[in-house]
Amino acid sequence: MHRLHAPHNQPSGDESPAEAVATTRRALIGTAAGLGAAALVAPGVVLHTLSAQAETAPITNKSRWGLLIETDKCAEGCRACIEACDHEHGLDRQVPEGSPSKWEQQKAVWIRKVKLQDNQTGRITQLPLMCQHCEHPPCVDVCPTGASFKRADGIVMVDRHLCIGCRYCMMACPYKARSFIHHNTTGQLTAVPRGKGCVESCNLCVHRRDYGQDSTACADACAATGHHAILFGDLKDPESPIRRRMREIQNRQIREDLGLNTGVRYAGI
């Protein structure tokens, strides 16, 4: 019984020399492994702690993030915003499954280009369409578990741990802004958790918000092409560029009749 309880790294008096050496070696390997693991993990812990500081700042309702889209600046054939969004959130890592037409129907899309024609006048309009980040989001109203939620700063998003994949939010969204993940996902980015069976949509590059960056991937990409059709900013700050521009030009919400007070506004439709 005593031997059973003897500590493994302490050779007991009645062990043979060979056993004692083996025990000592095991203890040494154990210690080395422990130190090694600590050496590997500790910097990660330290880094994580340091880098997490930006994330732990509380989200407040002092800001309300939104986009202003000037449709007359949105160029025909340009896909810069879509490609940037796909890259930013790892959507370009999706591996197509099934036939091309099936894949078209089922792949996740956070932002898409829509080309419209006015039935009366024939005027053509281009615009990028994504989650409109409503002040009163129907998706949040209908989500049974509270997985769809709106942050204090107006960003509407999905908690992937609470999402049960019922897709009721997709039924409720007037903008068809949400995608259901029909497939196994691989190669997801750390900042953008994604997984089969959950719903997802544009989150206004929320990871950028939480690290204090002041733009979105789509707005940056649009600016880089020289079009400047997408302007990101704080809708509550009267002096922010987005608010100044919204004072200058007429803009409206898509499906204004629903009274959702969207965070994404469009000029020229």
């Binding site: 792949k107 996740a108 899309v109 280009k113 369409l129 049974p144 509270g146 007037p174 029909h182 069976g197």
Partner: protein
């Protein structure tokens, strides 16, 4: 009128076990389909980001709606005090629970993350009708079980009426809640109509009774129990009335939509230009599900024949599935009206280019999952009637209570 005797279903064991075997096989195939869809993901289904609820929802909602409707027979006996329906109350309660279990199981197994059911039971957002429904459904089962106890146990008899009233109110709330899952969605042209709540109540009355009648006829036929013409006539007339009520609600729903300019496009599409959906609406829902059964049930000669009544019940059920297909899938296939007065020329997300409807075709696993749920409901009913006393020994005219009208006449002619 004799005392009603309830007795277990005593068909030969070979027949009983073979029925169990068929149903178990169907449930097994449904379970395999679930496993396949869960493992591979929903990409193996016909569902897409445009049509997010597919064939499993058609079966599930049909069963859930039928479940509440099946309880009506018990309500008519208990709450509305029609003694001729009293012997049918127990079977009515059993059907209500069984159909609900089957429907809910399909819903749960069609979730993107079915293993997170525990999340749905521990995190509630009470602005969601889904969250209310979780309580409405579980509460319904508990109430119906209590209702069955009050019907079957002598000690429960004094509670039969209050439980019956409560069950009736609860089932109306439940079906209104199910209809409101669709009726409170402002985003879609076909939904966003509060009439869908009461319309689902009407649908439930018809579908629940049709299922009830088929189960009743099958059980009685198999064992050689008799159903008298009076019970048959009552059930037939009731079904005809309920089918007519459905037709009325469908008419009002579409007339209201036609009156609203913003819903013109949807109505035009569904009633005239929706291709397969237009066909399913007119032929499946209206003709097969409503008009033909009404014709049979009001026909002077056919309505007296049991087989024709069975045919009418079957058509009502087929029409019910067609109705669910139109309500659930057709309404999603019609593109969201985001830009009134505009035509979408191009879109990166199937937004209805040139007004085109989204494509959807049910996959085999979806259909098999739905059939598996139906089979589970039937299995519960089968075992229920076999092991417990749900079925009255006879529904012959001399056994069941006299018609209230005749009773009233008898009282009237009786000298004071």
């Amino acid at each position: 009128m004799k005392r009603i005797v309830y007795r277990e279903w005593r068909i030969p064991p070979q027949r009983y076990w073979s029925l169990i075997g068929y149903l178990a096989a169907l449930i097994g195939i449904g379970a395999l389909s679930f496993g396949y869809m869960e493992h591979e993901g929903h990409w193996v289904t016909g569902m897409s980001n445009s049509v997010v609820w597919g064939m499993p929802h058609v079966f599930a909602v049909f069963l859930i709606v039928s479940a509440s409707g099946a309880l009506n027979i018990a309500s008519i006996g208990t709450v509305f005090k029609k003694p001729i329906y009293k012997p049918l109350g127990r079977l009515s309660g059993l059907l209500a629970v069984a159909l609900l279990v089957g429907g809910l199981l399909i819903l749960v197994t069609d979730l993107g993350r079915p293993e997170r059911l525990i999340v749905a039971m521990t995190h509630y957002n009470f602005s969601s009708i889904f969250a209310w429904n979780i309580y409405l459904y579980t509460g319904f089962m508990a109430i119906v079980i209590a209702y069955l106890w009050s019907m079957a146990d002598r000690q429960g008899a004094p509670f039969n009426y209050p439980i019956g009233v409560f069950a009736l109110i609860w089932r109306l709330a439940l079906t209104t809640g199910t209809g409101s899952i669709f009726g409170f969605l402002v985003a879609r042209q076909a939904y966003d109509a509060a009439i869908l709540g009461p319309m689902f109540v009407a649908l439930s009355l018809a579908y629940g009774l049709a299922v009830f009648m088929l189960v009743l006829f099958f059980c009685f036929e198999e064992e050689g129990r008799s159903i008298g013409p009076r019970v048959l006539r009552r059930l037939r007339n009731l079904l005809a009335l309920f089918v007519a009520v459905v037709l009325y609600f469908v008419l009002i729903y579409h007339l209201t939509n036609l009156y609203m300019a913003k819903k013109d496009a949807f109505e035009h599409w569904l009633l005239l230009g929706g291709g397969f959906y237009t066909f399913v609406f007119w032929v499946g829902w209206i003709l097969v599900g409503n008009l033909v059964p009404l014709w049979i049930l009001y026909h002077p000669a056919l309505s007296e024949q049991r087989n024709w009544i069975i045919a009418a019940c079957t058509l009502v059920i087929l029409g019910g599935l067609a109705a669910m297909y139109v309500i659930i899938i057709g309404s999603q296939a019609f593109p969201l009206a985001m830009f009134p007065g505009h035509t979408i020329l191009e879109s990166g997300f199937n937004d209805g280019v040139q007004g085109a409807a989204a494509s959807y075709w049910p996959s085999i696993p979806e259909v098999l999952l739905g059939i598996g749920g139906v089979a589970l409901s039937l299995l519960i009913i089968l075992v229920g009637v076999r092991v417990l006393q749900f079925l009255p020994e006879s529904l012959a005219d001399e056994v069941v209570a006299p018609d209230e009208e005749q009773l009233a006449e008898a009282v009237a002619v009786k000298p004071a």
